[in-house]
Protein backbone atom coordinates (compact mmCIF):
# COMPACT_ATOMS: atom_id res chain seq x y z
CA UNK A 1 0.00 0.00 0.00
CA UNK A 2 2.82 2.39 0.95
CA UNK A 3 5.35 0.60 -1.23
CA UNK A 4 8.17 2.78 -2.56
CA UNK A 5 9.68 1.24 -5.70
CA UNK A 6 12.72 2.14 -7.79
CA UNK A 7 13.91 0.33 -10.92
CA UNK A 8 15.26 -2.51 -8.78
CA UNK A 9 14.52 -1.87 -5.11
CA UNK A 10 11.48 -1.78 -2.86
CA UNK A 11 10.67 -0.44 0.60
CA UNK A 12 7.38 -0.33 2.44
CA UNK A 13 7.78 2.29 5.20
CA UNK A 14 4.40 1.45 6.74
CA UNK A 15 5.26 -2.21 7.32
CA UNK A 16 8.73 -1.11 8.44
CA UNK A 17 7.23 1.27 11.02
CA UNK A 18 4.90 -1.43 12.37
CA UNK A 19 7.79 -3.91 12.57
CA UNK A 20 9.97 -1.32 14.36
CA UNK A 21 7.20 -0.68 16.91
CA UNK A 22 6.78 -4.40 17.68
CA UNK A 23 10.55 -5.00 17.87
CA UNK A 24 11.15 -1.98 20.15
CA UNK A 25 8.34 -3.20 22.44
CA UNK A 26 9.98 -6.64 22.48
CA UNK A 27 13.38 -5.13 23.38
CA UNK A 28 11.81 -3.02 26.14
CA UNK A 29 10.29 -6.22 27.59
CA UNK A 30 13.80 -7.76 27.69
CA UNK A 31 15.10 -4.54 29.25
CA UNK A 32 12.43 -4.72 31.96
CA UNK A 33 13.89 -8.08 33.14
CA UNK A 34 17.10 -6.28 34.10
CA UNK A 35 17.87 -4.36 37.27
CA UNK A 36 17.09 -0.68 36.84
CA UNK A 37 19.03 2.05 38.58
CA UNK A 38 21.94 1.81 41.02
CA UNK A 39 23.07 2.93 44.44
CA UNK A 40 25.05 6.11 43.83
CA UNK A 41 27.90 5.71 46.34
CA UNK A 42 31.58 6.62 46.13
CA UNK A 43 33.26 6.91 42.75
CA UNK A 44 30.91 4.47 41.06
CA UNK A 45 29.76 6.97 38.45
CA UNK A 46 33.21 8.44 37.82
CA UNK A 47 34.39 7.57 34.28
CA UNK A 48 37.01 4.80 34.28
CA UNK A 49 40.43 6.14 33.36
CA UNK A 50 42.77 3.62 34.99
CA UNK A 51 42.77 5.60 38.24
CA UNK A 52 44.13 8.77 36.62
CA UNK A 53 42.47 12.17 36.53
CA UNK A 54 40.08 12.33 33.58
CA UNK A 55 41.21 15.05 31.15
CA UNK A 56 38.67 17.76 30.37
CA UNK A 57 38.36 17.33 26.61
CA UNK A 58 40.82 14.76 25.33
CA UNK A 59 39.21 14.13 21.94
CA UNK A 60 37.79 16.97 19.87
CA UNK A 61 35.41 16.78 16.91
CA UNK A 62 38.37 17.47 14.61
CA UNK A 63 39.94 14.21 15.81
CA UNK A 64 36.90 12.12 14.86
CA UNK A 65 38.32 10.84 11.58
CA UNK A 66 41.98 10.74 12.70
CA UNK A 67 42.46 7.07 11.73
CA UNK A 68 40.95 7.71 8.33
CA UNK A 69 43.08 10.78 7.53
CA UNK A 70 46.24 9.22 8.96
CA UNK A 71 46.08 6.08 6.81
CA UNK A 72 45.01 7.99 3.67
CA UNK A 73 47.36 10.94 4.14
CA UNK A 74 49.05 10.32 0.78
CA UNK A 75 45.66 10.63 -0.94
CA UNK A 76 44.71 13.76 1.02
CA UNK A 77 48.12 15.34 0.32
CA UNK A 78 47.45 14.78 -3.39
CA UNK A 79 44.00 16.40 -3.07
CA UNK A 80 45.49 19.38 -1.21
CA UNK A 81 48.03 19.89 -4.01
CA UNK A 82 45.15 20.04 -6.50
CA UNK A 83 43.54 22.85 -4.48
CA UNK A 84 46.02 25.48 -5.63
CA UNK A 85 43.57 28.40 -5.39
CA UNK A 86 44.04 29.22 -9.11
CA UNK A 87 40.83 29.31 -11.17
CA UNK A 88 42.74 28.14 -14.26
CA UNK A 89 43.64 24.90 -12.45
CA UNK A 90 40.04 24.31 -11.35
CA UNK A 91 38.67 24.83 -14.90
CA UNK A 92 41.35 22.45 -16.24
CA UNK A 93 40.31 19.79 -13.69
CA UNK A 94 36.62 20.37 -14.50
CA UNK A 95 37.24 19.83 -18.24
CA UNK A 96 39.35 16.75 -17.48
CA UNK A 97 36.57 15.28 -15.30
CA UNK A 98 33.96 15.94 -18.05
CA UNK A 99 36.16 14.19 -20.64
CA UNK A 100 36.64 11.13 -18.39
CA UNK A 101 32.90 11.04 -17.68
CA UNK A 102 31.97 11.27 -21.37
CA UNK A 103 34.44 8.51 -22.30
CA UNK A 104 32.97 6.31 -19.53
CA UNK A 105 29.38 6.95 -20.65
CA UNK A 106 30.02 6.42 -24.39
CA UNK A 107 32.27 3.41 -23.80
CA UNK A 108 29.49 1.92 -21.67
CA UNK A 109 26.92 2.64 -24.38
CA UNK A 110 29.14 0.96 -27.03
CA UNK A 111 29.71 -2.13 -24.87
CA UNK A 112 26.00 -2.54 -24.07
CA UNK A 113 24.99 -1.90 -27.70
Amino acid sequence: MALIESAAGVWDPLIWAVAVTIIVAFVLVIRSFGKSGFKNRGDKTKPFFSGDVVPESPIKAGNLYWGFFESLKGYYAFLERLHSGLVNDYVYLFVLAIVVLLIAVFAGELVWA
Binding site: L3, A8, G9, V10, W11, D12, I15, W16, V18, A19, V20, I22, I23, V24, F26, V27, L28, I30, R31, F33, G34, K35, S36, G37, F38, K39, K44, T45, K46, P47, F48, F49, S50, V54, P55, P58, I59, N63, L64, Y65, W66, G67, F68, E70, S71, L72, V111
Partner: protein, 325 residues
Protein backbone atom coordinates in the same frame (compact mmCIF):
# COMPACT_ATOMS: atom_id res chain seq x y z
CA UNK B 1 3.30 -9.62 12.28
CA UNK B 2 2.42 -11.96 15.16
CA UNK B 3 5.50 -14.00 14.28
CA UNK B 4 7.89 -11.07 14.83
CA UNK B 5 8.46 -11.66 18.59
CA UNK B 6 8.93 -15.40 17.95
CA UNK B 7 11.51 -14.81 15.21
CA UNK B 8 13.23 -12.17 17.36
CA UNK B 9 13.44 -14.59 20.31
CA UNK B 10 14.73 -17.39 18.04
CA UNK B 11 17.40 -15.04 16.60
CA UNK B 12 18.57 -14.11 20.11
CA UNK B 13 18.76 -17.75 21.25
CA UNK B 14 20.56 -18.84 18.05
CA UNK B 15 22.96 -15.88 18.32
CA UNK B 16 23.85 -16.77 21.92
CA UNK B 17 24.40 -20.42 20.97
CA UNK B 18 26.66 -19.26 18.12
CA UNK B 19 28.65 -17.15 20.60
CA UNK B 20 28.96 -20.19 22.86
CA UNK B 21 30.20 -22.38 20.00
CA UNK B 22 32.59 -19.61 18.90
CA UNK B 23 34.09 -19.42 22.39
CA UNK B 24 34.51 -23.20 22.71
CA UNK B 25 36.10 -23.56 19.25
CA UNK B 26 38.41 -20.57 19.89
CA UNK B 27 39.42 -22.09 23.25
CA UNK B 28 40.16 -25.50 21.69
CA UNK B 29 42.27 -23.81 19.01
CA UNK B 30 44.29 -22.23 21.82
CA UNK B 31 44.60 -25.59 23.68
CA UNK B 32 42.12 -24.49 26.38
CA UNK B 33 38.93 -26.29 27.46
CA UNK B 34 36.79 -23.16 27.21
CA UNK B 35 33.40 -22.35 28.73
CA UNK B 36 30.24 -24.45 28.22
CA UNK B 37 28.06 -23.59 25.20
CA UNK B 38 25.49 -22.10 27.59
CA UNK B 39 28.01 -19.54 28.97
CA UNK B 40 26.55 -16.59 26.95
CA UNK B 41 23.11 -17.28 28.50
CA UNK B 42 24.72 -17.24 31.96
CA UNK B 43 26.51 -13.98 31.08
CA UNK B 44 23.20 -12.36 30.10
CA UNK B 45 21.50 -13.63 33.26
CA UNK B 46 24.34 -12.20 35.37
CA UNK B 47 24.35 -8.85 33.55
CA UNK B 48 20.60 -8.44 34.03
CA UNK B 49 21.13 -8.83 37.81
CA UNK B 50 23.90 -6.22 37.95
CA UNK B 51 23.46 -2.49 38.60
CA UNK B 52 22.82 -0.37 35.51
CA UNK B 53 25.31 2.41 36.24
CA UNK B 54 25.06 5.70 34.36
CA UNK B 55 28.33 7.71 34.51
CA UNK B 56 28.18 11.25 35.86
CA UNK B 57 29.70 12.78 32.69
CA UNK B 58 27.24 11.03 30.37
CA UNK B 59 24.09 12.17 28.58
CA UNK B 60 21.71 9.77 30.40
CA UNK B 61 18.86 9.71 27.85
CA UNK B 62 21.12 8.90 24.89
CA UNK B 63 23.33 6.62 27.01
CA UNK B 64 20.27 4.49 27.96
CA UNK B 65 18.50 4.72 24.59
CA UNK B 66 21.33 3.51 22.35
CA UNK B 67 21.43 -0.13 23.61
CA UNK B 68 17.67 -0.39 22.87
CA UNK B 69 18.11 1.04 19.35
CA UNK B 70 21.11 -1.22 18.70
CA UNK B 71 19.28 -4.43 19.61
CA UNK B 72 16.03 -3.36 17.91
CA UNK B 73 17.78 -2.57 14.62
CA UNK B 74 19.79 -5.82 14.72
CA UNK B 75 16.55 -7.77 15.21
CA UNK B 76 14.86 -5.77 12.45
CA UNK B 77 17.48 -6.93 9.94
CA UNK B 78 16.57 -10.57 10.66
CA UNK B 79 12.97 -9.93 9.50
CA UNK B 80 14.24 -9.04 6.00
CA UNK B 81 16.55 -12.06 5.60
CA UNK B 82 15.71 -15.41 4.00
CA UNK B 83 16.40 -18.08 6.61
CA UNK B 84 17.02 -21.75 5.70
CA UNK B 85 15.83 -21.13 2.13
CA UNK B 86 12.44 -19.77 3.26
CA UNK B 87 11.30 -16.27 2.23
CA UNK B 88 11.88 -13.47 4.77
CA UNK B 89 8.95 -12.62 7.06
CA UNK B 90 8.76 -9.15 5.45
CA UNK B 91 9.46 -10.36 1.90
CA UNK B 92 8.42 -7.82 -0.71
CA UNK B 93 8.54 -4.87 1.65
CA UNK B 94 12.30 -4.34 1.75
CA UNK B 95 15.41 -5.48 -0.10
CA UNK B 96 19.18 -5.79 0.18
CA UNK B 97 19.69 -2.01 0.12
CA UNK B 98 17.35 -1.62 3.12
CA UNK B 99 19.18 -4.47 4.91
CA UNK B 100 22.54 -2.73 4.38
CA UNK B 101 21.10 0.53 5.72
CA UNK B 102 19.56 -1.08 8.82
CA UNK B 103 22.80 -2.99 9.43
CA UNK B 104 24.55 0.37 9.97
CA UNK B 105 22.25 1.28 12.88
CA UNK B 106 23.61 -1.10 15.60
CA UNK B 107 27.18 0.12 15.02
CA UNK B 108 26.01 3.73 14.83
CA UNK B 109 24.06 3.31 18.08
CA UNK B 110 27.23 1.99 19.74
CA UNK B 111 29.18 4.99 18.43
CA UNK B 112 26.58 7.47 19.73
CA UNK B 113 26.39 5.56 23.04
CA UNK B 114 30.18 5.72 23.30
CA UNK B 115 30.26 9.47 22.71
CA UNK B 116 27.42 9.91 25.22
CA UNK B 117 29.43 8.01 27.89
CA UNK B 118 31.61 10.98 28.72
CA UNK B 119 34.69 8.77 28.97
CA UNK B 120 37.98 9.31 27.11
CA UNK B 121 38.31 5.58 26.41
CA UNK B 122 34.74 5.40 25.05
CA UNK B 123 35.31 8.49 22.89
CA UNK B 124 38.45 6.98 21.36
CA UNK B 125 36.56 3.69 20.81
CA UNK B 126 33.61 5.50 19.19
CA UNK B 127 35.98 7.38 16.89
CA UNK B 128 37.65 4.13 15.85
CA UNK B 129 34.30 2.37 15.29
CA UNK B 130 33.18 5.27 13.07
CA UNK B 131 36.34 5.03 10.96
CA UNK B 132 36.03 1.21 10.74
CA UNK B 133 32.42 1.55 9.53
CA UNK B 134 33.43 4.07 6.84
CA UNK B 135 36.12 1.66 5.67
CA UNK B 136 34.17 -1.60 5.34
CA UNK B 137 30.99 -0.13 3.84
CA UNK B 138 32.57 0.31 0.38
CA UNK B 139 33.63 -3.34 -0.23
CA UNK B 140 30.32 -4.46 1.33
CA UNK B 141 28.36 -2.26 -1.11
CA UNK B 142 30.42 -3.46 -4.10
CA UNK B 143 29.66 -7.09 -3.21
CA UNK B 144 25.94 -6.46 -2.70
CA UNK B 145 25.47 -4.42 -5.88
CA UNK B 146 27.50 -6.85 -8.02
CA UNK B 147 25.46 -9.88 -6.99
CA UNK B 148 22.17 -7.98 -7.46
CA UNK B 149 23.31 -6.78 -10.91
CA UNK B 150 24.32 -10.34 -11.84
CA UNK B 151 20.88 -11.64 -10.87
CA UNK B 152 19.25 -8.77 -12.80
CA UNK B 153 21.38 -9.56 -15.89
CA UNK B 154 20.09 -13.14 -15.76
CA UNK B 155 16.57 -11.77 -16.25
CA UNK B 156 15.24 -12.01 -12.69
CA UNK B 157 12.81 -9.32 -11.53
CA UNK B 158 13.30 -7.72 -8.07
CA UNK B 159 17.02 -8.48 -8.28
CA UNK B 160 17.82 -6.60 -5.04
CA UNK B 161 15.56 -8.94 -3.06
CA UNK B 162 17.76 -11.24 -0.96
CA UNK B 163 15.26 -14.06 -1.49
CA UNK B 164 15.54 -13.62 -5.29
CA UNK B 165 19.35 -13.64 -5.03
CA UNK B 166 19.23 -16.78 -2.84
CA UNK B 167 16.83 -18.68 -5.13
CA UNK B 168 18.69 -17.59 -8.28
CA UNK B 169 21.96 -19.13 -6.94
CA UNK B 170 24.64 -16.74 -8.23
CA UNK B 171 27.12 -19.59 -8.86
CA UNK B 172 24.80 -21.02 -11.53
CA UNK B 173 24.61 -17.71 -13.43
CA UNK B 174 28.28 -17.38 -14.43
CA UNK B 175 31.01 -19.10 -16.42
CA UNK B 176 34.60 -19.82 -15.28
CA UNK B 177 35.67 -16.14 -15.22
CA UNK B 178 32.59 -15.19 -13.24
CA UNK B 179 33.21 -18.06 -10.80
CA UNK B 180 36.61 -16.57 -9.93
CA UNK B 181 34.97 -13.14 -9.60
CA UNK B 182 32.27 -14.48 -7.27
CA UNK B 183 34.90 -16.28 -5.20
CA UNK B 184 36.76 -12.97 -4.75
CA UNK B 185 33.52 -11.22 -3.74
CA UNK B 186 32.83 -14.05 -1.26
CA UNK B 187 36.31 -13.56 0.26
CA UNK B 188 35.74 -9.77 0.43
CA UNK B 189 32.46 -10.31 2.31
CA UNK B 190 34.17 -12.74 4.72
CA UNK B 191 36.75 -10.00 5.40
CA UNK B 192 33.94 -7.51 6.13
CA UNK B 193 32.29 -9.85 8.65
CA UNK B 194 34.77 -9.46 11.58
CA UNK B 195 34.79 -5.67 11.02
CA UNK B 196 31.01 -5.50 11.09
CA UNK B 197 30.99 -7.60 14.29
CA UNK B 198 33.95 -5.71 15.87
CA UNK B 199 35.95 -8.92 16.30
CA UNK B 200 39.73 -9.39 16.31
CA UNK B 201 41.63 -8.37 14.17
CA UNK B 202 39.21 -5.48 13.53
CA UNK B 203 38.20 -4.76 17.14
CA UNK B 204 40.36 -1.71 17.78
CA UNK B 205 37.16 0.13 18.81
CA UNK B 206 36.89 -2.11 21.89
CA UNK B 207 40.51 -3.27 22.36
CA UNK B 208 40.28 -4.41 26.02
CA UNK B 209 44.04 -4.48 26.57
CA UNK B 210 44.53 -0.99 25.15
CA UNK B 211 41.45 1.16 25.82
CA UNK B 212 39.70 -1.08 28.38
CA UNK B 213 36.70 -1.99 26.20
CA UNK B 214 36.53 1.33 24.30
CA UNK B 215 33.00 2.41 23.51
CA UNK B 216 31.55 -0.13 25.97
CA UNK B 217 33.83 0.79 28.89
CA UNK B 218 31.14 2.67 30.85
CA UNK B 219 28.28 0.29 30.06
CA UNK B 220 27.21 -2.22 32.71
CA UNK B 221 24.22 -4.30 33.80
CA UNK B 222 21.11 -4.20 31.60
CA UNK B 223 22.56 -1.80 29.02
CA UNK B 224 25.63 -3.98 28.52
CA UNK B 225 23.37 -7.05 28.29
CA UNK B 226 21.47 -5.38 25.43
CA UNK B 227 24.73 -4.65 23.57
CA UNK B 228 25.81 -8.27 24.21
CA UNK B 229 22.54 -9.49 22.66
CA UNK B 230 23.03 -7.05 19.75
CA UNK B 231 26.39 -8.66 19.00
CA UNK B 232 24.78 -12.12 19.08
CA UNK B 233 21.94 -11.11 16.70
CA UNK B 234 24.32 -9.27 14.36
CA UNK B 235 26.38 -12.48 14.11
CA UNK B 236 23.25 -14.34 12.94
CA UNK B 237 22.37 -11.51 10.53
CA UNK B 238 25.81 -11.25 8.90
CA UNK B 239 26.21 -15.03 8.60
CA UNK B 240 22.68 -15.29 7.15
CA UNK B 241 23.39 -12.59 4.54
CA UNK B 242 26.58 -14.38 3.45
CA UNK B 243 24.73 -17.72 3.42
CA UNK B 244 21.84 -16.29 1.37
CA UNK B 245 24.12 -14.73 -1.25
CA UNK B 246 26.98 -17.19 -1.56
CA UNK B 247 25.81 -20.47 0.04
CA UNK B 248 22.17 -20.75 -1.07
CA UNK B 249 22.37 -24.53 -1.62
CA UNK B 250 19.60 -26.91 -0.52
CA UNK B 251 20.09 -30.37 0.92
CA UNK B 252 16.48 -31.64 0.56
CA UNK B 253 16.53 -32.51 -3.17
CA UNK B 254 19.97 -34.16 -2.81
CA UNK B 255 18.67 -36.78 -0.36
CA UNK B 256 15.14 -36.93 -1.78
CA UNK B 257 13.51 -35.41 1.33
CA UNK B 258 9.94 -34.12 1.07
CA UNK B 259 7.42 -32.35 3.34
CA UNK B 260 8.39 -31.90 6.99
CA UNK B 261 11.56 -33.96 6.53
CA UNK B 262 12.73 -31.48 3.90
CA UNK B 263 11.95 -28.47 6.13
CA UNK B 264 13.85 -30.03 9.07
CA UNK B 265 16.80 -30.93 6.82
CA UNK B 266 16.97 -27.39 5.39
CA UNK B 267 16.93 -25.84 8.88
CA UNK B 268 19.72 -28.17 10.09
CA UNK B 269 21.72 -27.46 6.91
CA UNK B 270 21.23 -23.69 7.36
CA UNK B 271 22.49 -23.91 10.96
CA UNK B 272 25.57 -25.85 9.81
CA UNK B 273 26.25 -23.30 7.05
CA UNK B 274 25.96 -20.40 9.52
CA UNK B 275 28.30 -22.14 11.99
CA UNK B 276 30.81 -22.71 9.15
CA UNK B 277 30.61 -19.03 8.08
CA UNK B 278 31.04 -17.84 11.68
CA UNK B 279 34.04 -20.16 12.10
CA UNK B 280 35.79 -18.90 8.97
CA UNK B 281 34.70 -15.25 9.28
CA UNK B 282 35.27 -14.66 13.00
CA UNK B 283 36.52 -17.58 15.11
CA UNK B 284 39.47 -18.59 12.91
CA UNK B 285 40.34 -14.96 12.11
CA UNK B 286 40.35 -13.82 15.75
CA UNK B 287 42.46 -16.75 16.90
CA UNK B 288 44.94 -16.66 14.02
CA UNK B 289 45.54 -12.90 13.61
CA UNK B 290 46.56 -10.21 16.12
CA UNK B 291 44.62 -6.95 16.43
CA UNK B 292 45.17 -4.36 13.68
CA UNK B 293 45.76 -0.70 14.50
CA UNK B 294 43.02 1.65 13.24
CA UNK B 295 45.24 2.93 10.41
CA UNK B 296 45.89 -0.69 9.34
CA UNK B 297 42.13 -1.42 9.42
CA UNK B 298 41.48 1.45 6.98
CA UNK B 299 44.25 0.18 4.69
CA UNK B 300 42.98 -3.43 4.82
CA UNK B 301 39.39 -2.43 4.01
CA UNK B 302 39.80 0.52 1.65
CA UNK B 303 42.95 -0.93 0.08
CA UNK B 304 43.13 -4.72 -0.04
CA UNK B 305 39.49 -5.71 0.50
CA UNK B 306 38.17 -3.05 -1.90
CA UNK B 307 40.74 -4.15 -4.51
CA UNK B 308 39.59 -7.78 -4.12
CA UNK B 309 35.93 -6.71 -4.41
CA UNK B 310 36.59 -4.49 -7.46
CA UNK B 311 38.51 -7.30 -9.18
CA UNK B 312 35.56 -9.60 -8.44
CA UNK B 313 33.19 -6.98 -9.89
CA UNK B 314 35.34 -6.65 -13.03
CA UNK B 315 35.50 -10.42 -13.55
CA UNK B 316 31.75 -10.90 -13.03
CA UNK B 317 31.05 -8.00 -15.43
CA UNK B 318 33.42 -9.49 -18.02
CA UNK B 319 31.76 -12.87 -17.63
CA UNK B 320 28.26 -11.43 -18.18
CA UNK B 321 29.40 -9.35 -21.19
CA UNK B 322 31.15 -12.36 -22.74
CA UNK B 323 28.06 -14.48 -22.20
CA UNK B 324 29.47 -16.81 -19.54
CA UNK B 325 32.45 -18.05 -21.59
Amino acid sequence: MALIPLIAAAAIVFGLVLKGIDRIVAARMQARIGPPVTQPFTDIKKLLMKENIVPRNSVPLIFNLMPVIALASALLVILYLPIAGFPPLLEGSGDLVLVLYILIFPSLAMVIGGFASGSPYATVGAQREMVTMMSYEFPLAITAVTTAWLVSSAGHAASFSLYTIATANVWALVGPIGLVGLLLLFIALLFVMPGELAKIPFDSAEAETEIAGGLLVEYSGTNLALFYLTDAVKTVAMASIITAIFLPFSIGPLFGFAGNESIAAEIVFYILKVIAVVFVGTTFARVAIARFRITQIVKVYLGHTTAIALLGLALVTADVLLGGV
